[in-house]
């Protein structure tokens, strides 16, 4: 298959996915029972009259039929207008824009230590028994303890063990978020690396007398990269949609916390926008990964399409 056709099909697939995610958003939000206008009023005051409810529904634009509302919403999206938050009255884009830097920092910061650590850990544990023992126990810990328990426990331990724990706390979210991912990555990387190391061309590379460094970066890494790229892209997509639990435990104002706050107060425009963002990011990341896979291993893709 030639490159041009590959680009067409992957672009088309991305577009279809973006469209279905948008449609799914509309369906989900229309299905939510209850009146957000009434709920907002009840949160604010005890006395709720019919007239006030109608007024606030008018303000939120809930009086028009579902179809018109959805159409208007899609029209708004095309010019990047996601409506106004029911809770604060601010434009949703501004709300998300103010939360996104925290989530981005968290996502990239976590992957920045997780990816090298899992690669190094997997490589080390193939080579040395002691390293294997350490890495497998750490990854068992990350695999077994749920992140909310881990977050609370680590906070507790740090506050007991360290006197000046204020200095350490900014690093803890990265640790708690990264540990389960490291565990997962470690297992994947370990299986792929053992497979690569057992192959004939690596044995030949050793026979040529190449250094470990050269073998890893020139022979093993290009071979395992395609299978790891997909895994990395998936978790990056998940992380960019907000680390809900970690943000709640550590009180970080990220996207995940915005989403939970929006769910609590039935802030439909914010809910829709966050779900949309995460779906879109995922769709784009998947197609970028596909392109990278194609680039890094053309033979693999030729057999697939």
């Amino acid at each position: 298959m030639d490159t041009a056709r590959f680009i067409y099909t992957s672009l088309l697939r991305t577009l279809i996915m973006v469209f279905t995610v948008t449609l799914a958003c509309i369906v989900i939000v229309t299905l939510i029972p209850g009146d957000p206008g009434e709920l907002a009023l009840r949160e604010a005051s005890e006395a709720v009259s019919e007239e006030k409810i109608r007024e606030i529904r008018q303000l939120f634009g809930l009086e028009s039929p579902v179809f018109n509302r959805s159409l208007n919403w899609i029209k708004g999206i095309l010019v990047l207008d996601f409506g106004k938050s029911y809770r604060t009255g601010e434009p949703v884009l501004k709300e998300i824009g103010s939360r996104l830097p925290f989530t981005m920092k968290l996502a990239f910061g976590t992957l920045l230590w997780v990816i090298p650590c899992s690669l190094l850990g997997a490589w080390g544990s193939v080579k040395f028994k002691a390293v294997r023992w350490i890495t497998s126990s750490i990854s068992l810990l990350g695999l077994v303890i749920p992140d909310y328990v881990l977050g609370v426990l680590i906070l507790l331990l740090v506050s007991i063990a360290l006197k000046d724990f204020e200095n350490v706390i900014p690093f803890l979210p990265y640790l708690v978020l990264g540990l389960p991912i490291t565990a997962f990555y470690f297992y994947v990387t370990y299986t792929v690396i053992t497979q690569a190391l057992n192959s004939d061309y690596i044995r030949f590379a050793y026979a040529k007398g190449l250094s470990e460094w050269a073998i890893f970066f020139r022979h093993v890494f290009p071979c395992i990269l395609p299978s790891l790229l997909a895994v990395w892209a998936i978790s990056l997509g998940r992380l960019l949609s907000g680390a809900v639990v970690v943000e709640i435990v550590f009180g970080l104002p990220g996207l995940g916390r915005l989403f939970v706050e929006a769910v609590f107060s039935r802030d439909y425009p914010v809910i829709e926008a966050v779900v949309l963002w995460s779906g879109w990011v995922f769709a784009f990341l998947i197609s970028i990964t596909d392109a990278l896979l194609y680039y890094s291993n053309p033979t693999l893709m030729r057999s697939h399409f």
Binding site: I28, I145, P146, Y148, V149, V152, T191, V244
Partner: protein, 285 residues
């Protein structure tokens, strides 16, 4: 990815030997979890509020101490454990059933149905499960039933994708093609050539996804959007314990240890299934 040709009998005897260790242990744990709450001699009333006895440390009367309302934490942990684990398990089973039906439909249906189905599965997979579950609980309500259905509904696209891939690869194996050439087809082909190959990865995936569903069920409770009080549930117990940790750290112990043991047993069962298949090429996401 390649399957080894084995008979159903060989796989089942391997499953039996695995059962004796990890899967058996898991079963014993689950049975205990279900039966313990009915032993009234061990478990006192988990709903009984006694403000005179609030925040007591562990003692002979209250094995894990009491919480801020003076309720016995031991009985709450056990009944909460039953709620959490059984809900997670049933959500996985439900999701797997829906996923299997959709997977079969996406393989056998006419292409007019097939293609849209795959697009729907892919776009459902694009949405993060926690976000999807939270929105679905808004629709279905946050009773235990509602949360279980939401987790199942967020689970099925993964199962559909997984089972579809499994079947495609299994039917494409050379020995399956060869046996078809000899005239074996239908149920007999499935029973003696397909099922033995897909059983271990299927079992392993089931245990991993169950552990994940249990953790998700707890996670929604932890966020305060899951099962509402006074029904005990591990996630919401951890949520209640969080502000009280400096005063009464023992509130955390029951649900944390419970989560860890449960997930460990499930992961162990999954690992033994994976080992028995010698099936290391597949990653479970």
């Amino acid at each position: 990815m390649e399957y080894k040709l084995r008979s159903l009998k060989a796989i089942l005897s391997n499953v039996q030997s695995a059962c004796k260790q990890s899967i058996g242990l898991l079963l014993i744990f689950l049975i205990f979890l279900v039966l313990l709450p009915s032993l009234t001699a061990i478990v006192s009333d988990p709903y009984k509020i006694d403000l005179k006895q609030r925040l007591l440390p562990p003692s002979g009367e209250f094995l894990l101490g009491t919480d801020s309302l003076g309720r016995c934490l031991f009985s709450r942990t056990i009944i909460g454990g039953r709620n959490t684990v059984i809900s997670g398990l049933s959500a996985t089973i439900l999701g797997a059933i829906i996923g299997t039906v959709i997977a079969l439909a996406s393989l056998k249906a006419p292409s007019l149905v097939k293609e849209p189905l795959m697009v729907i599965i892919d776009s459902c997979l694009a949405l993060p499960d926690l976000l999807l579950i939270l929105v679905l609980t808004l629709i279905l309500g946050n009773s235990i039933f509602g949360v279980v259905i939401s987790i199942a509904l967020s689970n099925w696209p993964w199962w559909a994708r997984f089972i579809r891939n499994l079947l495609i690869v299994a039917y494409a194996q050379d020995y399956v093609v060869a046996s078809r050439a000899t005239g074996i087809s239908g149920f007999r082909l499935f029973k003696s050539y397909i099922l033995p190959q897909i059983l271990p990865p299927l079992g392993s995936a089931f245990f991993v996804r169950s552990a994940r569903s249990i953790v998700l069920f707890g996670g929604i409770g932890f966020l305060g959007l899951g099962v509402q009080p006074p029904i005990p549930e591990w996630g919401s117990m951890i949520r209640d314990a969080m502000p009280l940790i400096p005063v009464a750290p023992w509130i955390m112990v029951g649900p944390s240890v419970g989560f860890t043991i449960t997930v460990m047993l499930f992961q162990w069962a999954a690992a033994s299934m994976r080992d028995l298949a010698n099936y290391r090429n597949y990653t479970f996401i």
